[in-house]
Each structure stands twice: as C-alpha cells, then as structure tokens.
Amino acid sequence: MLKYIVKRLISMVPVIIGVTFVVFAIMHFTPGDPATLLLGEEAPPAEVERMRERMGLNDPFLVQYGNFLFGLFRLDLGFSLTTGRPVFNEIANRLPATIQLAAAAILVAIFIGVIMGIIASTRQYTVFDGGAMFVALLGVSMPNFWLGLMMILVFSVFWNNTFGYVLFPSSGFGTLRHLVMPAIVLGTAHAAFITRITRSSMLEVLRQDYIRTARSKGLNERVVVYLHALRNALMPVVTMAGLRFGVLLGGSVVTEQIFAIPGMGRLLVESVRSQNYTLVQGIILTYAIIFSLVNLAVDLLYAAIDPRIQVQYK
C-alpha cells in the first residue's frame, strides 16, 4: 500500500510540471507588459526597459520558463506584482481559510446528501423520495448569494435585534462560528449532487442478492441499509464528493465576497484582473497539486471501502 502511495506521488510530478508549462505559456503570450503594469502607464520607456531587464522579461521564453521551474524547486514562486510580497506567502495566507471552508462545506454536503439519498432510496416513489429530490433541486437552483444574504439577515441581523446578540457573525474568519453560515451555503449547493448519486447507487445496491441474504439473517433494516448496503453504495458517492471537494477548494468567489472571507477564490479573481501573472501561476500550480492529492485520497478511500480494489493497488 505504501509503495502504491509513493508511486502515485511520484507520478504526480510530471503532471504538475505539465500544468506549470501550460500556465506559464498562457501567461507569457497574454498581451500586456508586466513591467509597464508595475511602473504605471506614464513611466519613461528607459525605466520600463530597465525593469524588464531586471525581471528577466527580455530572456527567451524557454529560459524564463527554466528560471521559473528552478525557482519552484526552492519554493520560490517570485513576487506578487501588486503587493511585492512573495507569491508563496500570499497563497499561504489565503489557503487555510479556503481549505477549512471547503472541508466544512463538503462535510455539510455529504451529511445532507447521504442522509437524503438514503431516505429517498429506501422509500422510493413515496412522498419522502419526492421531497428529498425537491429539496435537492432547490439546493442547486438557489443562488449562493441569496441564501447567504438570507442567512445573514436571519442569524446576524434579526437575531441581534431580537435576542441582543449575533448567533453567527456575518463576516470575517477564524472561529467555528464564522464557518457555520458559509459552510451551509456552500454545502447545500453541493449536497444536491451527492443526494442524487447516493439515491441511485443505493437503489442499485438494495436490489442485490446479498441484501436479501442480510435480511434473511434477521438483521434489522437499519443495519441492512446503513451497514450492508451503504458501504457498497459508497463508491460513486466518494467519487462525487472528491470532485465536489476539488471544486470547493478552487474557492467560491461569491460566498467569500458575501462573508468577507480571505480565500483563494477572491485572490485568483483579483490577480487575473490585475494581470498579476506570478500570482496567477502560483495559484493555478497550487490547484493542480491539490486536485492531484484529492484524487489520490479518493483512490485510497476506494481501497478502504472495497477489499476488491486493494488487490489492484500493488
């Protein structure tokens, strides 16, 4: 198993180098001169030229890319063009908030999604099934900003007016109470996907012979559903949860904006808008690494769930 993990980690290296090349190339051939951007439109051309020389922008493309890669191995991603701080630090400042939010949101999504999916599948074609599917539909179609604003209105504003204190703070980050509302807003949006996939996967598994065997042993229905069926039905759910977690780690600009969370989503949008190419490169590289790691985690979860898959991981 350990050998498999190491193998997978090593195979991530070429993928990530590939990503850096594509990103670097795109940023390099995008119109706009970083030196001009840095010094302002009115800067004398000689000044700009000196800056270009200092930043290495006059070197051939491959030399620039080589320098970038070389820096990468020392965790040196260059400096942010807007703040002048190291890109590494900029990302390190924002990443924890995003990871916490994504983790909390995916937990909310899995909790809601799996439970509603099970309820829907065990009572197929009943009011419960229809209700769960309706709530799921509501979850995806409700805009994040609307639900966010409504929650702020209820739990921060009205609560404060009625009870004299704020139940959940409307902005900022740091404590668990800050995390509750944004996690619910993001979680409900993603729960719908997990509800649907849990339902269909459970319906498939509940028809299997081994479920009949389990019932014939005299197990009660809860054990049959939550132990015997759910574990078998979990595979597609884990796949979906992994994908959704990846999306969440990309940051949610809208939710971060509403709750004033210093996350990656806003950082990326800001840096693209200001053509802050070093920062964009850094962020996308971070995403590539995170996505690869999440994929690996999903594959390892498969093996933990299903012993038949462990055999393949040699």
Binding site: D209, Y210, S216, K217, G218, L219, P307, R308
Partner: protein
C-alpha cells in the same frame, strides 16, 4: 400437532403490479416433521422461491403480498408475528441458502465477519466471540479456519456456497430452506455441496426444504417430494412413490422429460407440451388442464382437491377423486 415443525395451510402470495396481479402461490398445504427433508420441485416460475420467501416473510413488498393462509412454525403462526419477532426467527430458527453464491455474499465484509454477524445477533455475543464460531463453521464445511478473514472475492463459487451454508447453519436452525443451492455450480462441485448439506443435516438434526428443479438432487437428499405447478402443489408423497409411482399427469410429464438410460433406442424425450401459464392469467379450474393429456370437461371449471391415494401420497387431480 407438536410433532410437526412446520405446517403451511392454504398459503396465497400475490404480486400486485400495475399490469395486474400475478398469483404466484395459490393455496399451498404442506407439513414438515423435525429432521425431515422435503424436496420441492417444479419448473422455473412455479412459485417455489416465493413459497420459501413467504415462510421467512421476505417476499419483497411491494409488489409482493401474502394474501391468505397460515404458516405455523412450532404451532405459532408466523404471519401474525411482529417484524421484530420475525427477525429473531430469521437466520436463527429458520435459515435460507440462496441460489447464486457469487452474488449472495456481501463483497465488502470478510466471510468470517458475515458468519459472526449472524451468531452475535442471535446468541447475544460479541463479534469477536462470533468469529471463533465462524472459524468452527468454516471447518465444518471443509474450508480452512485460517481463511476466516478472507473476502468473498477470494473464494471460488463452490466455496462461497459452502460459506453460505456455514452462515445459515451457524445458529443451529430447526429448519433450513435451500433454494436451488447447486444450480449455479458445476456438476462436481454440486456433488461436493450436496455431500456437505447431507452430512450436516444428520449432524445437527435440522429439517430441510430443498427447492430445486433437478430431480437428481431431490433423489439424493429428500425423504418426501412435493411437486409444484403454477403456484399449487399437484402431488406430494414419499420419495419412492413419486419416483416410481407418480400419478398426476404433470408429474408423469416431468419424469417423461428425463432421458432413460435403459432405453436408448427411443432418442426422443416425451416432455409435456406447451408452457406453464402466466401467473397473471391463470386458467380457471385446474391450472394444468390446458396442457393435460387427460383433461376432462370438469377440469376447466373446478379446482381439484388433494386426495390421499396411498398413505402419505396426495394427488390433486379429478382422475383420482
């Protein structure tokens, strides 16, 4: 009365779907003594499995429903039991082995865990204690106890069926229902599995209902044979009677479709013409009359009652009433 382990009285099971009602089991009467082995034979779709699931009250509902009758197990009607009481009987006093061993074991739990689950549930012991019982049971079905932590995919089909047998017998049930336990296995493995079932039945004095369409299997284990057709029992009697002195035209047809090794000259078999009726559109009267070579005018109007023609040998046919 007390010497009967199981008594089924006028059992009816229907599947109610949008297209109509499929009458899978229509008024079955059956008795079983402790330690007795009964063979239940019939074509696919005759209602054998539905009868078995009915005994355990595991007919999938919806669409299936037990619409009438009584199932007395040690004198108590199982159809009046609460679901909780039923759960204490399933896997404990009445166990079932299913047809396809490849899909009947849960792939994500070790075989030992699956056997132990049964033991710990009914004997109120920890899974850990159950595991040692599981080891014992595996040895009993000739699987090394050291494989208790292995998963179903690591076993062959025959071994999986033996695991299922071990699981079904782990709590020493009074009744084992084996639903075509050898159908999915190849012939040599079939013999092996039958040997094990036979041996264990003697060892722990369990009654057996062997459901099959394989008359060879029936001949090997049963003391009595019941022949089922379109949800009804057409003939029931001691093994020897049914094999050598069968009376019902359907049973005659059934045995007519077995090749006779002493008479190789006639290369053609003499199977019953036609197909079993659709359970949604059962004919009036005796369900066999449209295919019956002996059918009379009466057969399409009335359903024949079961008649005892010899001690313990019952036939449902107007030829004998």
């Amino acid at each position: 009365m007390s010497e009967k382990l199981l008594e089924i009285k006028d059992l009816h099971v229907h599947y109610e779907t949008d297209e109509g009602t499929a009458r899978a089991v229509n008024g079955i009467n059956l008795e079983l003594k402790p330690g007795e082995c009964l063979g239940l034979v019939g074509e696919t779709g005759a209602g054998k499995t539905t009868t078995a699931l009915g005994i355990l009250r595991l007919v999938p509902d919806p669409p299936g429903r037990i619409t009438g009758g009584e199932i007395l197990f040690r004198g108590e009607n199982l159809l009046n039991k609460k679901e909780r009481e039923m759960r204490r009987i399933r896997g404990n006093k009445i166990s079932m082995i299913f047809q396809d061993p490849m899909t009947s074991l849960n792939p994500v739990f070790s075989v030992g865990r699956q056997i132990a689950e049964n033991v710990s549930l009914h004997q109120n012991v920890s899974i850990k204690k159950g595991m040692s019982r599981a080891r014992e049971m595996l040895e009993l079905v000739e699987i090394p106890g050291s494989r208790v932590h292995d998963y179903p995919h690591e076993f062959s089909g025959g071994m999986r069926q033996r695991v299922l047998i071990a699981m079904a017998l782990a709590c020493n049930p009074a009744l084992l229902i084996a639903d075509e336990p050898t159908t999915a296995l190849d012939v040599t493995i079939q013999a092996q599995v039958m040997e094990i079932i036979k041996g264990l039945m003697k060892q722990i004095n369990t009654s057996l209902i062997m459901i099959t369409h394989d008359l060879g299997v029936v001949a090997e284990v049963s003391e009595r044979v019941a022949v089922m057709y379109a949800g009804q029992l057409v003939e029931i009697g001691p093994l020897r009677d049914i094999f050598t002195d069968h009376k019902h035209p359907y049973t005659i047809g059934l045995f007519g479709s077995i090749p006779d090794i002493d008479d190789r000259e006639s290369t053609r078999l003499t199977p019953t013409k036609g197909l079993m009726p659709d359970a949604m559109e059962l004919p009036e009267g005796c369900p066999f009359h449209p295919r019956c070579p002996e059918a009379m005018e009466k057969c399409s109007r009335e359903t024949p009652q079961s008649v005892e023609i010899k001690p313990g040998h019952f036939v449902s046919c107007f030829l004998f009433s």
